[in-house]
């Protein structure tokens, strides 16, 4: 987010100079193009993030095998932010200021993205963020290749309402910003369809919550009211295993109360005994079980890269796959890795995704994605039971939140604004009030 018009102009001036600086003999042509990878390899998030690091490394390997980019090698620069949010900011700064990488692929949790954001904007870097998130953000320097709420949550609810006939809703989530926002949006959405308050139960739990007995039995009670009930789960990573175990053991099967999860993919299922979960749902933009050649090629490459026959792929990996190819495209288009050029070039770029379609980069730095609903199978895979007819464009600002209803994002010049308020007709923090705040 840009603090003030003055600051912005100064940065626009700075940009070309920066470009010139990069073009100096200091960096000759044969120097490799540096790709920063900012994923936790230790700490709580290592579980989810290590595979993403490997994915990017694999993609780089492949790209180099095909002769690199602009006749230059790609080189991965890996650091470990260790699931420590301030460390994310520090490492981002290291990558951009010290290593002078041309692009960063990284982050999983919202908080890590939020902590990196100011750094990336200050040092004018490029960040590709591969995980589904709460939206309500559009940065000039960040490209959101994961799903926004309207690319995951809302279609999932539509499916449950129309195809399963759910009338009663449990919105269960881990207590952090993604579930909070998503559930706010869903509540507003459901009520717009006339769902009554008493038919919605919202529940939040701390990270890594391991004792689900009470909550599951509450859900059970909530579901015995004679109306079809479903659980919309935004429960984060680690807490899912005990949650599903408890579901299974308290005998809630998908036929009675289906659970649709937004954070449970193939990767998470490798840690769960899936037998009792068969039939529970997940909404993603990609499943390993997708039956396309592109996907099979990707899977084969991945299995060969990891050397593990049982290795699985998941949605964020596809997001990186898409993001990486988009960046390659944009760099080719711009003929340089220089950030501002790439930023402009990438908008409108479209590359094939793994589900047999194309993903295009929108002016709001989100991409178009198909939405798939899958049912868990006993082999830890998902069988796809529903799919949006066409791809959905990511929405940075939800129409269901009072604060963001009037905001749009478009990074094309001349607007070049991440939070343009169509009502006040000004970009983000209306400059009009600037003085007043300056005084107080």
């Amino acid at each position: 987010m840009i603090p003030s018009s003055v600051y912005r102009t100064s940065r626009w001036l700075a940009a070309p100079l920066l470009g010139a600086a990069l073009a100096t003999p200091a960096l000759a042509q044969e120097d490799p193009i540096k790709v920063g990878i900012l994923h936790s390899l230790s700490g709580t998030m290592a579980i989810s993030e290590t595979v993403l690091k490997d994915t990017v490394e694999m993609l780089i390997e492949q790209q180099n095998a095909e002769g690199g980019l602009l006749g230059r090698e790609l080189e991965a620069v890996v650091v470990d932010p260790a699931s420590d949010w301030p460390l994310f900011a520090e490492k981002a700064r290291e990558l951009l200021a010290q290593e002078e990488v041309d692009v960063i692929f990284g982050n999983w949790t919202s908080v890590s993205r939020k902590s990196v954001l100011p750094v990336v904007e200050e040092l004018n870097g490029l960040l590709f963020y591969p995980v589904q998130y709460e939206g309500e953000e559009s940065s000039e320097n960040v490209f959101y290749t994961g799903a926004a709420p309207n690319q995951q949550a809302i279609p999932a609810v539509d499916y449950l309402m129309n195809n399963v006939g759910v009338e009663r809703w449990v919105l269960a989530g881990t207590d952090y910003v993604y579930p909070r926002t998503t559930n706010k949006i869903l509540e507003a959405y459901l009520k717009s369809f006339g769902v009554a308050d008493e038919d919605i139960m919202v529940n939040y739990t701390p990270f890594g919550h391991s004792d689900w007995q009470n909550i599951v039995s509450e859900v059970k009670a909530f579901g015995s009211e004679g109306k079809k009930t479903a659980v919309v789960s935004t429960i984060n990573g680690d807490a899912n295993v005990p949650f599903y175990r408890e579901l299974g053991n308290q005998g809630i099967d998908a036929a009675d109360i289906p659970v649709v999860a937004f954070s449970v993919g193939e990767q998470e299922l490798t840690g769960i005994d899936t037998a009792p979960l068969v039939g529970h749902l997940a909404a993603w933009n990609y499943f390993m079980s997708v039956d396309t050649d592109a996907n099979y090629d990707f899977i084969d490459a991945w299995i060969d890269y990891t050397g593990d026959e049982m290795a699985v792929t998941n949605d964020p990996m596809e997001a990186h796959y898409i993001g990486f190819n988009m960046w390659i495209e944009a760099v080719r288009k711009a003929g340089t890795t220089e950030v501002d050029a790439v930023k402009d070039a990438i908008i409108g770029v479209s590359v094939p995704n793994l589900t047999g379609g194309y993903a295009a980069m929108m002016p709001n730095h989100h991409i178009t994605k198909p939405v798939l609903i899958g049912e868990i199978q006993d082999n830890g895979q998902f069988s796809i039971v529903w799919e949006t007819p066409s791809t959905v464009a990511g929405d940075a600002w939800s129409d269901y939140l009072p604060g963001s209803r009037d905001l749009i994002s478009d990074w094309r010049k001349p607007m070049a604004c991440g939070n343009y308020n169509v009502v006040t007709g000004s970009c983000g923090g209306g400059e009009t009030q600037e003085e007043t705040t300056a005084e107080e």
């Binding site: 299974g248 005994d273 006993d378």
Partner: protein, 532 residues
């Protein structure tokens, strides 16, 4: 999910005269049937399923089951239908769906799965359920009958009544009658309410609930009266349930803490790597299951001694490698063992995987036992609860009745004196630490049935463990037991109205204030660790 009339018709016929149907279907018929299954929409698929059942083809059951777990697939080129025998990895062993003989491996790339959704799954399940009403095993018949609750409609009434007449098992009869009653209730019959009186079954309550909302005032009235009565009984159930939840959570805390109560409470060693020892126990369970594929139960049993051993050995290594050099400086043990815990975590990450591992729940541990229709206790937690008590009792025996226990206590009270009495204090230290660590391993084995088996497993329990030990009074095993269980119950009692997060906070605040009142914990004790 309701079963379509077509399916009904065939069931009626099937049930009224249940002599196995003539199996005279040619393969092409089978091919036909399967062909029709491979349909565009799920509705068409539903019809195809009915077709299969009505066909009375003796292979139909196999097909339906394969379909149910997504193992009925079509070869893309040949269009040949196969049943996948094992669907992990890239190449799957398959059998021909028609002839049933195994035909080697096929790449999943060339196969097309006949996918179903929850609605179809429901249809299949109840269809199979109806078929199951005729299997010899009573248990299965009960399952089938229970599965039919709420799925009965007009066309099933007659056949089911027929079944009831000849069914010799009372429980099956009761369940089927209940099913019929639910159906009648949906039809709006008042006396159905009477026959559903007092049943705590979820589906019954669901039916009554919707009846209570019906426009027929009399029915609504009766239903809500019945419900109110049921709610009364449920109240007691909920109370017991909460108690059970509390004890179960408590037992987990006790298991996690009891090892610490020994290493920390008795030896005064602040072992930050305790959590990782628990983790090792859990991974041992996983490893066991890898070694004995297909027999999770046996693996489970074997991993109890194995887990103890592995953790104990690790404990000995820690004691010899680090702690013995820190005699008399327990605080330094906190620092060193913290380092050890970091190393162990990363070791697991690099050697095994940063991802969680699947630990399968043996069937005798999954599900729950039904106390009554409305109250059932989850088995895995029941086992853990029992296990915790056994472990505790075992430890008490060791400490009270064995030579080791005696020596341990002697060394704790007065090291120098014990030495002079010819007790080899160093040996005792090793043994004690090994014991404590081994118990941590046991905790890991148990926890593998409840939560993630991953590198962070230990981290999630170390803090709580220390809380429990201190709350109970350092160096007092009874204290640990009481503390663990009571904290568990308090937490679970608070949770429903305070929410999970607030409940935990309140428990912590409670501990802080309690320590103000009793600066030595629940059961204060004299001895090295208690001084100062």
């Amino acid at each position: 999910m309701t079963i379509s009339p077509c399916l009904r018709r065939m069931l009626v016929l099937f049930l009224l005269a249940w002599l196995p149907l003539a199996a005279s279907a040619q393969d092409d018929d089978g091919q036909q049937l399967l062909q029709s299954l491979d349909a565009a929409s799920f509705t068409q698929m539903g019809e195809a399923i009915e077709a299969i059942i009505t066909s009375g083809d003796e292979r139909s059951r196999g097909w339906l089951e394969a379909l149910l777990d997504g193992k009925l697939q079509r070869h893309k080129e040949t269009g040949r239908f196969v049943v996948v025998l094992e669907n992990r990895g890239r190449d799957w062993p398959v059998a021909d769906a028609l002839t049933g003989e195994a035909i080697g491996e096929m790449s999943r790339r060339d196969l097309d799965r006949l996918g179903i959704n929850n609605a179809l799954r429901g249809q299949l399940q109840s269809a199979l359920a109806v078929l199951d009403l005729h299997v010899p095993e009573t248990r299965d018949r009960r399952e089938a009958a229970r599965a039919l609750l709420g799925d009965v409609d007009a066309s099933l009434v007659e056949p089911l009544e027929a079944v009831i007449r000849v069914e010799e098992d009372a429980e099956v009869r009761r369940l089927l009658e209940q099913g019929l009653a639910i159906h009648r209730l949906e039809q709006g019959s008042l006396e159905a309410v009477a026959s559903l009186q007092g049943s705590l079954n979820n589906r019954v309550r669901a039916a009554l609930n919707s009846a209570a909302r019906s426009d027929d005032p009399a029915l609504a009235e009766a239903a809500s009266v019945a419900l109110a009565d049921i709610e009364q009984q449920m109240k007691l159930n909920r109370g017991l349930e909460t108690l059970y939840f509390g004890l179960s959570l408590g037992s987990v805390l006790v298991l996690a803490a009891i090892g610490l109560a020994i290493t920390f409470g008795v030896m005064g060693v602040i072992n930050m790597a305790h959590g990782e020892l628990i983790m090792l126990g859990a991974y041992t369970t996983w490893a066991m299951q890898q070694l004995l594929p297909g027999q999770p139960g046996l693996a489970m049993v074997l991993s109890i001694p194995a887990g103890f051993l592995v953790a104990a050995l690790a404990g000995i290594a820690i004691e010899r490698g680090v702690i013995q050099f820190l005699k008399g400086r327990p605080l330094e043990t906190l620092l060193a063992t913290f380092g050890v815990s970091l190393i162990l975590q990363q070791l697991v990450r690099t050697v095994i995987s940063p991802l969680n591992r699947t630990v399968v729940t043996p069937e005798w541990m999954s599900g729950s036992i039904m106390i009554n229709e409305g109250l059932s206790l989850t088995l895995n937690r029941l086992y853990v609860l029992g296990f915790a008590l056994v472990v505790f009792a075992g430890l008490m025996l060791v400490m009270r009745r064995t030579r080791l226990g005696l020596e341990v206590r002697a060394v704790t009270q007065n090291r120098a004196m014990a030495r002079s009495m010819g007790i080899r204090a160093t040996r005792v230290d090793i043994m004690t630490f090994a014991l404590g660590s081994g118990v941590a391993g046991l905790a890991g084995v148990a926890l593998s049935q409840l939560t993630n088996v991953g590198p962070n497993l230990g981290q999630n329990y170390i803090i709580d463990s220390f809380m429990v030990v201190v709350f109970g009074g350092v160096g007092n095993l009874w204290g640990t037991l009481v503390a663990g269980l009571s904290l568990g119950v308090i937490n679970q009692v608070l949770e429903p109205w305070a929410g999970a997060v607030l409940a935990k906070i309140l428990v912590l605040v409670f501990i802080i204030l309690f320590i103000q009142k009793r600066p030595r914990g629940l059961f204060p004790q004299k001895g090295r660790a208690a001084e100062g």
